[in-house]
Structures are given as C-alpha cells and as structure tokens.
Symmetry: C2
Subunit: 332 residues, 2 copies
C-alpha cells in the first residue's frame, strides 16, 4: 500500500472504485424520488439525499455484488433501495428524536413539518419496495423486508428502553442491530444473493455488515459524548433524550449510591439541570466507560475484518477491511 | 332476496360467508403483530386492530380470491397484508391529523405518543412486506408496493393541497385515490392475481375496488359535515384542518365575493372564529354542494357495480354489489 493510498479515506477509495455504478445509483435515486403529483416529496427528499451523506450503505451493496462477480444490472436497484430505506428511517428518526440538526444542516421536520417527514418517509419506503420488486428476487425481498422489521422493532425498543436504568448491554445490542447493523448486514447480504453465491459466502458478507454496523453505532454513541460541532452532532443529545447508550449503561452499573441518584434523577426521572451534562461526562471518565466502549468498538471491527476471510483477495475486499479500521479511527 | 336477507348489512353477510377464512386472517394478524423484544408494538397495534374495525379491506381480498376460484392458502396472507398496510396508514394519519378519536376511541398517539405511532406504523408496514413476500408472487408485490406509494403520495398531496383554495376536483380525486381507493383496488386485484385469472377479470376487480373506494371516501367526506357523534367522528374536523374536500371545493367555486372572503380567511389563512363552522355549513347548503356530492357518490357506486359485469353469478358477487349500495345508503 503506497503512502498516497494510505492517505485516502477508505470510503473515498470505495467511491472512486465504484464511481460509475454510484452514478447510476444516484440517477436512479433522483428518478425514483420524483413524484408527478406531490412536489413536496422531492423537495424534502432532496434536502436529505443531496446533503452530502457518505452513501456508505449503497456502496456496501455495490462492493459486495462486485466482490461476488455479479455482472447484471440489479445491484444498482438494490443499492438505491438500501439508500431509500436509510433515508426513510432518518426522516422518521428526526420526528421521533425532535432533532434540529442532521449532517450539519437543519432537519426536514424543522424546515417543513413533522407530517411531511412522516409521509415522505412512507413514500420512500414504498418506493424502496417497488425497486426491490423489480429485481425479481424473492430472496432479496425476504432479506430486506426482514431488515425493515428489525429496524422498526429496534427503534420501538429504544423508545421503551429510554430512561430505563435497568437497560442491559444485551438490550443495547438489540437496539444497535435495529438502528444500524440490520441495514449494513442486509446491504452486504443482498449483494451476494443477487450474484447467486453459496450460503457460506452470503453468511460471511452478512457477518461483515453486522459487525461493521454494530461497531459503527458504538462509535457514533461514543461521539455523542466526545464529538465536536464539526461532526454536525449536538454533544449530549443522547443524555438529554435520556437514551441509555453503552458508556452510560456501564457507568450506571459501576455507580455508587450518590452517582446512582444522579442517574435516577437525570435519566430515569428526566429532571435535568444546568451542569448535569458535565457531571455525566465526569462520571463516564471516572469509571473509564468511554475507554472500555472504545475497546468494544475495536473488537467489533476485528470481528468484521475476520468475517471476510472466506472471500478471495480483491481490491474491494481491501477497501472494506480498511473501512472497518477507519470507522474506529474516528475515536482512536 | 328475502326480507330477512335484505335486513342484514352486506359487510355482515360478507363476514358470515367468509368467517372461517377471516378467523385465519385474524389469527395471522395477531401472530405477526407480536414482537419478541418490544412489547409496546402489540400494545399499540392491538388497541387499533381490536377496536372493532369492519375489516372491510381483508374481506375484499378474500371475496375476490374466492370469486376467482382460488383454492390455495395465500389469500389469507394477502388479506392480513392489506389490513396491516391499512393499520399502519391509520397510525401515521393520526399523527399527521393530530386526531384525538378513531373508531370512537382515543387514538394511539393520544394514549401513547406520536413516536410510538410512527414507529409501530413502520413496523406493521415492514411486516406487511414480509407477509406478501411469503406468497411468492412478484405480481402481488408489484401491485401492493405500487399501492403503498400511491397512498403515501396522496397523503403528501393532501397536505400541500390543504388550505389551497385553488385545489381542483381533479386534485381532490387524486387525494381520494391515495387515501382510500388505492388500497381497495389493490385488495381486489391481488385476489384475482393470486388465483391466476386473466387480465380482463383482474381489471374488472381493480375497477370495482377503485370505484368503491372513491365513493366510500366521498361519503366519508360528506359525513364529516353531516355525521353525528355516533360515527365516532368529530363533525367539522376537515374544516378545522383546512382540508378542501368536495363539498367545500364546489362551494368555493360557486362563491360570491363575500363568501370567497370567508373561505380565504377560514381555509386559506386559517383564522377561524367561533361560529365559522356553522357559516360554512350554511354556505354548503346554499349552494347545494352536499347534495351534488351525494349524487357523485351514487354515480361512483353505479360504476363499481357495473365493473363486476364480467364476473359470473356468485353469492359473493351479490354481496359486493350490495356493499356498494350500502356505502351510499349511509348518506341517503
């Protein structure tokens, strides 16, 4: 690997290697987010789709299909499908979280209204099912409708687990699978399925996506306590929304009586006062839970890389391996 | 037709004729609305599913499949699919409309919160796609994913058409197709498709569902200005939400300068005062738009009945014909 090579971010290298197909994906996305009758739909969608997201999920699908030697046209449909499901989820998430910022810009629910976010999300979700139906693969439909159910279930679970100090690491993991890993793993899996690959290979692709997704979300939850405004995230959102993410779950488990009272008041009862976020950060530092959470993220990324062992050598495989390293490098 | 026969409501006769299969549908619905990890999901869904809705849409699918001589098991899956899509739509609608009542009971968004309604709706939507995938019919997937897109598009169109006095009858019809007719027609169509019937028959089934749905929604919009609390609807909801339904669109078209100023203030600018609903009702009466809207509903029901001409004589066909008459009888 040349120095020049190493200096380029792995998702930029993926984007370069897949540029022609990603262009086809973007064209299809733009074509399918149109609506003859309701111009509000492309307005809202364009705000999000054109906001410069990394298009990580569709690239996973394209990379997976190419790694498996697929030569048909439908990986482009599947990549667009995955991005539509992701965008629909973001629109609904912002309503649920009452977020004001996404990718460093005001959210759609702030610019338009909650109802537009709900309904345009529904539209994109329906469009995604039209797209995957066009592939003619019932296996693909099964995988992606399962993923959609896991995503929604995870979100509901997060909602009911929020503010519940009894939330376990196992529940956290289920939430994370729903929030992130389910779509990462499905995005990888369908690439192998559309290429007609054997069960072992398809499982390897799934496992990579699953571990990458879990690790990615753990990193995201870490950044919620460490990030700067440059990431476009508001620091402490999860704390204010009383979400029990891994750093807090571990700090609660290690808390003495006084600390526990703090968590009960701020998270369980939601009676937050000025200075509480700083106290929370101090407690996470005291118990080293940001460090132990970071160690978990690293372990997941090692698992992701090991999952790809059965796949033959390939430039795209190298990029996927580097991608796993890069994700945790954000919090190294 | 005996007197006894005539005294029974057609959807009750449909329910009786299809009781065994509807039991299988209800069983499947209960089974699939479960969630291992998130008990909030069946709570919210049960509130709505068990609320004593008429299950009209799944009965249309069962009736259509039976009319076409289908003998397999998948019309039950399709009927449950259609009810899930309908329930998901209701959950999201209540968030959008900020409704407080549905089927005479408090809405889920009032009992739980908007976020539960959004996320549980997403879950049911994903579940519906899992169910239809199990039928193994790509035609069915195409029809139902198209219907889902039309539904969402119609809702967005309604949102942007709301408060816009320039809304035409054509736009109204597009909204109505999205709100109601798209799922009625798809429910009928998939019954014929799963039975492997020819294009002409499938078209006839579609046309019946489409006309029944349009007529049904026109009647519903009429009842919004005529209904009593017995219907579980709040009179004047559409007026308060500044929705342009057919009676108002026609009154606006016939308005003199003073009346137009009233509509501009109440609908376009949304500055409503006490007594405005009564004034609106007076204007609808003055221009006879409730009567002309009623005439349209009748015409749609004649169209629905004529659509079934190509189908052979059958008890279920008679019930579908009676159903069309019964829907308009609510406002006769």
């Amino acid at each position: 690997m040349s120095l020049d090579h190493a200096a380029t971010k792995p998702h930029d290298r993926l984007a370069a290697a897949l540029s022609e197909e990603m262009e086809a994906v973007n064209l299809l996305i733009r074509e399918r987010m149109a609506s003859e009758h309701a111009p509000r739909i492309p307005e809202v969608t364009a705000h999000l789709v054109e906001a410069g997201g990394k298009r990580l999920r569709p690239m996973l699908t394209l990379a997976s299909a190419n790694l498996c030697g697929y030569e048909g046209p439908y990986h482009v449909h599947l990549a667009a499908t995955v991005e539509f499901i992701h965008t629909a989820t973001l629109l609904h998430d912002d309503v649920v979280d009452e977020s004001a910022q996404r990718r460093g810009r005001p959210t759609a629910n702030l610019l338009w209204d909650n109802t537009s976010s709900v309904l345009v999300g529904d539209y994109l979700f329906a469009r995604s099912f039209q797209l995957m139906t066009e592939t003619g693969s019932l296996d693909v439909l099964r995988i992606l409708s399962n993923a959609a159910a896991t995503i929604a279930e995870g979100e509901v679970l997060q909602l009911t687990a929020a503010s519940n100090l009894a939330t376990s690491e196992a529940t956290y993991l289920q939430v994370v699978r729903g929030k992130t890993a389910a779509l990462f793993s499905a995005a990888m899996e369908v690439g192998g399925v559309i290429a007609g690959r054997d069960a072992e290979t398809v499982q390897a692709l799934f496992d990579y996506g699953d571990a990458l997704g879990v690790g990615f979300q753990i990193v995201d939850d870490l950044l919620d306590y460490q990030g700067t405004d440059a990431t476009g995230k508001n620091i402490g959102d999860d704390f204010r929304e009383r979400k029990l993410t891994l750093p807090v779950i571990r700090a609660v488990a290690a808390a003495d009586a006084e600390e526990r009272a703090f968590w009960v008041r701020t998270i369980e009862k939601g009676r937050q006062e000025e200075g509480d976020l700083q106290t929370a950060l101090d407690l996470l530092a005291k118990h080293g839970t940001l460090e132990s959470t970071r160690a978990d993220a690293l372990a997941w990324m090692e698992r992701a890389k090991a999952a790809l062992d059965p796949l033959p050598g390939h430039d795209l495989k190298d990029m996927l391996l580097d991608l796993a390293d890069y994700v945790v490098a954000r919090v190294r």
